[in-house]
Amino acid sequence: MGFRRRKWEERVFRVLMAASTFIVLGSLLMILGTVVIKALPALNLDMITRTPQGGYYLGKAGGILNAILGSLYLASGATLLAVLLSLPIALYINTYSTRSTAWAVQVRFALDVLWGVPSIVYGAFGFIVMVLLGLRTSLLAGILTVALLELPIMARAMDEVIRLVPQSLADASASLGATRLETALRVVLRQSLPGILTAMLIAFGRGIGDAASVLFTAGFTDHVPTSLTQPAATLPLAIFFQLGTPIPEVRERAYASAAVLTLIILLVSLAARALSRKLRKHIIP
């Protein structure tokens, strides 16, 4: 192939690549821009510090503190529950069994399937279980359903991270006489801690932003939940319901709520990156 032809091909692809990057970043800016512009008229301190007072959805005073705290409680609870389940699973398939045994392959397959399940199916399944157990729409029901949603995301991400821990490290630990549990906890876990935290925060971000899983399970309320059996407002649903009133001012508040939610997720992902960078000092390169 002539050199000119090769150079030309490179140029074409460079243009395509730059265009693609432009499309990706451009669409992000468009979305953020639209949300921020529509949110500005309604963004004020009241929105984030007060719960809806009477008639909030009809235009009167108040804010979305109920949804902010409700979402934070729910996503935190769900993430915690998911961590308690995901971490042992991810550790097990990487340290106890070697990476490619049939068992590990099957577990990974199941996780892939769970990852692909639409969140509405989790919501439907959660509803069935709730009716079976006699639970009402509540913070607890929401936590259980969202934990189900987060489990595959977290386990998969943790798995990827733990996989990167070189086998030599685990072998060295074993040769020093450590049990498999000790190796798993003291060596592998510590080595992959930054990645694990990132996985947790990614799952948190996904859990807090999902509407379909909480639509039938967490209920909604204008109050901040004080117990697990009370219904909890969530930001995605608050956005939905505020969009659903006939009053234009309230619809503006929906955009403000969307901005708040996006901001929370942004802060969480920034924290994830900062934390993982800090913790990278403690790992063995």
Partner: protein, 281 residues
């Protein structure tokens, strides 16, 4: 710990079983072929044909993938191989941000901007559309899955060792040729995994698509026709479950079909992946 690692498999089994049990009603009423291959969805008349919804899901997901995969891969290659360092470090948090935007926001934005956009360009292609269409759903979905494919691809490219690239360049290949023949080939398995992940994410998205796709229970014949994907059916009709007999069963059956599609898809993807892996080895 071994018991806990059985949890994912158990969960899949439980959900499968639960949905299957709840589907018994409609399965007893209608032959499976009618459920899957009839386009008539009229619960009050006892008709639960899912063909229109299966077709809708397929149209939207495939269109989204056709839009998303080239753009995402090209962007990932650019960021990884060609972009100056400051662009790369700037773009990373931006893409994380895109990944974090909740689906409700995408749906709202889609209704505000994408639906009128599609309505406006439809006449250019000789169609008349309200904007609520397969194309609108595909565009919104594609943007939603950009980060998934890009971020995984970036990880894949970082894993390809520097030495290989340097060797290729030393042999006189251009940057792009290095990418084409070395990086992409080495990373092929990971890239396929990235695309599979993107597909799963697109397939499972409910709310954003629901808001822009038109929700008309008919087989779409063009990108500008409205469609009714299966997750949207469940979300929209959840309320009818208690009222019309067998509707609950039909919706649970729809959820079961979704789960089975995800299952089969992952199975096929895994087969392809192992074969690619073997070929690289």
């Amino acid at each position: 710990m071994r018991l806990l690692s059985a949890l994912p498999g158990l969960l899949v089994g439980c959900i499968l079983l639960g949905l299957l049990l709840k589907s018994r009603g409609v399965l007893a009423m209608q032959p499976l072929s009618r459920l899957l291959f009839s386009a008539a969805w009229k619960p009050l008349q006892g008709k639960f044909g899912l063909l229109a919804f299966l077709s809708g899901t397929l149209w939207v997901t495939l269109a989204a993938m056709i839009l998303a995969v080239p753009i995402s891969l090209l962007t990932a290659v650019y960021l990884s191989e060609f972009a100056p360092r400051f662009v790369r470090s700037l773009a990373r948090p931006f893409i994380d941000l895109l990944a974090g935007i909740p689906s409700v926001v995408f749906g709202v934005w889609g209704v505000l901007l994408i639906v009128p956009f599609v309505a406006r360009i439809a006449p250019l292609f000789g169609a008349s559309s309200s904007g609520y269409s397969v194309l609108a759903g595909a565009i919104v979905l594609a943007i939603m899955i950009f980060p998934t494919i890009i971020l995984v691809s970036l990880e894949v490219f970082t894993a390809v060792s520097r030495d290989l690239r340097d060797a290729s360049l030393a042999l006189g290949a251009t940057r792009w040729e290095t990418v084409k023949h070395v990086v992409l080939r080495k990373g092929a398995q990971g890239l396929i995994a990235a695309v599979v992940l993107g597909f799963s994410r697109a397939f499972g998205e409910t709310m954003a698509v629901l808001m822009v796709v038109g929700n008309v229970a008919r087989l779409p014949h063009s990108l500008f026709d409205p469609a009714y994907p299966l997750p949207a059916l469940i979300a929209n009709n959840y309320g009818e479950m208690m009222s019309i007999p067998q509707t609950e069963s039909a919706l649970m059956f729809s959820a079961l079909v979704l789960l089975l599609i995800v299952f089969v898809f992952n199975f096929a993807a895994r087969l392809i992946l192992t074969r690619v892996e073997r070929r690289i080895q």
